[in-house]
């Protein structure tokens, strides 16, 4: 069974290895240059209290525009590869056999359907996980100098990588999470193929389904995997960090800026002493735009608090492990479903 699976998967495997080699060369060469620049900047041995911020700013400003392109390209590739794997490896795995009728040949050899599927899923799933893992490793290594520079407090100008590794646009392209995504994408593709039984519609469904998960997950699920850290501070209406917005409906919104390097900000609200969100209604003192002082005095009398909910940068690896484990469990559940479907429902 292993031989047949490999023989059927050979062409795709060769494509994947070629693409990996090409990317490894591109990012290997530029990555060595990047590491060299980082080393030359002196950031590695800087004193946290004195010059790290300045050195980090100098380092990031030295990077040419092509590094920005490479960084963005790498991020896109790491995000795209699990989706492509699900579409081109997962969806056709069983659907093509059903469509072309070859399942009737395969399922009448002396190998049970369950084992037939298990070997196929194992070979393709492991190859997918290895591909995604290697890509992520290359990209994480390549971007490490930029990520380190962006973590340093006081480095003010970040042309790139400012968001931090927990940012939804960055998180899924680093660490071990892509391994989980790849496993899930393969299983999703196979399940779509088993259910739809036609290759091209299964591929389209896989793409749509995987994209939906990748959008919905960081918005609705990931923030709650670990309960967010919260900070409550007093709002000082005279501070420079405060922005006032007078809304068209007569209400007032306070925007208090907040920054912690590498943290993922989930919500930033102004609350009243009784714990409700401050909407700024009935603020007559603020109705006259020319008397700004009256307005800030009134705001100060409201004893407003700023409630910040966030995930600190230190939780990056905890999130990575949780997410990888969850997606691998989801993949296993889908694989089990596929096994159940092909043994229960005859496909003839």
């Amino acid at each position: 069974m292993l031989w047949l699976t490999w023989r059927q998967f050979r062409a795709q495997a060769i494509t994947a290895v070629s693409a990996l080699v090409a990317l490894a060369v591109l990012y290997g060469v530029t990555g060595v240059q990047l590491a060299h620049l980082y080393h030359a900047s002196g950031l590695a041995g800087c004193h946290p209290r004195a010059d790290c911020g300045r050195l980090a700013s100098t380092f990031t400003s030295q990077l040419g525009p092509h590094y920005k392109v490479l960084l963005d390209l790498g991020t896109v590739v790491v995000y795209l590869v699990p989706a492509l794997i699900g579409v081109f490896w997962g969806a056709p795995l069983v659907a093509r056999e059903i469509e072309s009728g070859t399942f009737r040949l395969a399922w009448n050899q002396s190998v049970t359907r369950r084992r037939w599927l298990a070997v196929k899923l194992a070979v393709v799933g492991l190859a997918a996980m290895a591909t995604a893992g290697l890509l992520s490793l290359i990209m994480s290594w390549w971007a490490a100098p930029i990520a380190q520079a962006s973590q340093i407090p006081g480095s003010t100008s970040f042309p790139m990588g400012a968001a931090g590794r927990l940012d939804p646009l960055v998180f899924g392209s680093e660490g071990i999470a892509p391994i989980g995504y790849a496993a899930f994408a393969v299983a999703l593709g196979v399940a779509a193929g088993v259910l739809i039984r036609r290759t091209v519609p299964a591929m389209a469904t896989t793409l749509a389904g995987f994209a939906a998960v990748q959008v919905v997950w960081p918005l609705l699920v990931r923030p709650h995997l670990i309960s967010p850290a919260k900070v409550i501070t007093r709002v000082n209406p005279n501070s420079n960090n405060i922005g006032l917005t007078f809304n068209a409906n007569g209400t007032l919104t306070i925007n208090s800026s907040w920054h912690q390097p590498g943290a993922w900000l989930l919500s930033n609200q102004t609350i009243t002493p009784d714990g409700k969100v401050f909407r700024g209604a009935n603020s007559k003192a603020c109705s006259n735009p020319n008397n700004f002082h009256a307005c800030t005095n009134w705001l100060a009398s409201q004893h407003l608090r700023q409630l910040i909910s966030y995930q600190p940068a230190s939780r990056f690896w905890a999130f990575q492990w949780y997410e990888t484990a969850i997606f691998i469990v989801l993949a296993a559940a889908l694989a089990w479903l596929c096994g159940w479907l092909i043994t229960r429902r005859g496909a003839a």
Partner: protein, 313 residues
């Protein structure tokens, strides 16, 4: 459907003597044993209430018009389909229930599927990798005799060659039961004869039961010693060819109402032309009535009679 059921009386050939007291009785299980088997697609029954026992050791022809349920029955027997009603056992086990069961049954589906991207040699490798009982010598010998280029991809083979390749895979796994869905339809006359010859050889040298569907009655006549006629999802006739031929007679004589025949004579078809009646009857007793001219029937007469009876019913 009990009229067409064909449970053999007494011990089938090859059955060991009755077990000693205290031992579990050991019998050769029938090649196929269906009880109330049915398969429904939506509101249409592709196969309905099929009760059928096929003893091992025969070359069984499954005949019926298109859409009669032949492929459905074969797909149920190989576990490619789950029955809607009833049960089916093949060689004493549930179809496709495990690797051992799969090893015992060879199946060539109607469209003789092969992997388009794999060469002939790779198909033989596939057979060797996936079947513990693989007979490589047999497979290679057959491919050589067919003159198939082993380096050729299956996509480049003709329909007949693809069928031969699929058959080779099914035979070389050395099954106890070989199930073939319309195997001859795609073969040219020479390949057809070669294939039927090979089947005869295979059944002679190993304990092989063959269950093949066909609508070509002439081909079945030469090879099959057991016959099943399937019409509109129901078994209308099943039994050993010799028994069937011995128990059916064509009676011709003066015009007569079939209802006046002796009780043991079952009329299958009757036609009345002018003053003459022509009846095909089934009976286990000899026909003594001197008014009749009694003639033997051949398989084709028999099959056509049952098909036309089912069509007019």
């Amino acid at each position: 459907m009990t009229a067409g059921s064909a449970a053999p009386e007494g011990r089938p050939p090859g059955t060991p003597p009755a077990a000693a007291p205290g031992e579990l009785p050991r019998r050769t299980p029938p090649a196929l044993d269906a009880r109330g088997l049915g398969k429904r697609y939506g509101r249409r029954w592709a196969l309905a209430d099929c009760t059928l026992t096929i003893p091992a050791g025969h070359v069984v022809g499954l005949v019926g018009p298109n859409g009669a349920g032949k492929t459905t029955l074969l797909n149920l027997a190989t576990g490619m389909l789950e029955p809607t009603t009833g049960t089916v056992e093949v060689l004493g086990g549930a179809p496709a229930s495990g690797a051992d069961q799969l090893a015992k049954v060879g199946y060539v589906a109607q469209d003789t599927p092969v992997y388009a991207g794999l060469t002939v040699a790779e198909h033989l490798r596939l057979g060797a990798e996936l079947n513990p009982g693989w007979d490589d010598e047999l497979a290679r010998g057959r491919i050589e005799r067919l003159g198939l280029d082993q380096k050729l991809k299956a996509a480049k083979l003709s329909g007949g060659q693809r069928a031969q390749l699929a058959l080779t895979l099914a035979i070389a796994k050395r099954p106890e039961l070989l199930i073939l869905d319309e195997p001859i339809a795609r073969l040219d006359p020479l390949a057809r004869r070669e294939f039927l010859q090979l089947l005869m050889e295979a059944t002679a040298e190993q304990e092989l039961t063959v269950l093949m569907s066909s609508h070509l009655i002439a081909d079945l006549e030469r090879t099959c010693d057991y016959l099943i006629v399937l019409v509109a999802g129901r078994v209308v006739l099943a039994g050993q060819v010799d028994d069937l031929l011995a128990s059916h007679h064509l009676l011709t004589g003066p015009r007569r109402d079939p209802a006046t025949l002796p009780a043991d004579q079952q009329v299958i078809t009757a036609s009345h032309v002018g003053r003459q009646s022509s009846l095909l009857v089934r009976t286990d007793k000899p026909v003594h009535d001197p008014a009749w001219t009694v003639a033997n029937v051949d398989i084709e007469d028999l099959v056509l009679a049952y098909l036309s009876r089912a069509a007019s019913a």
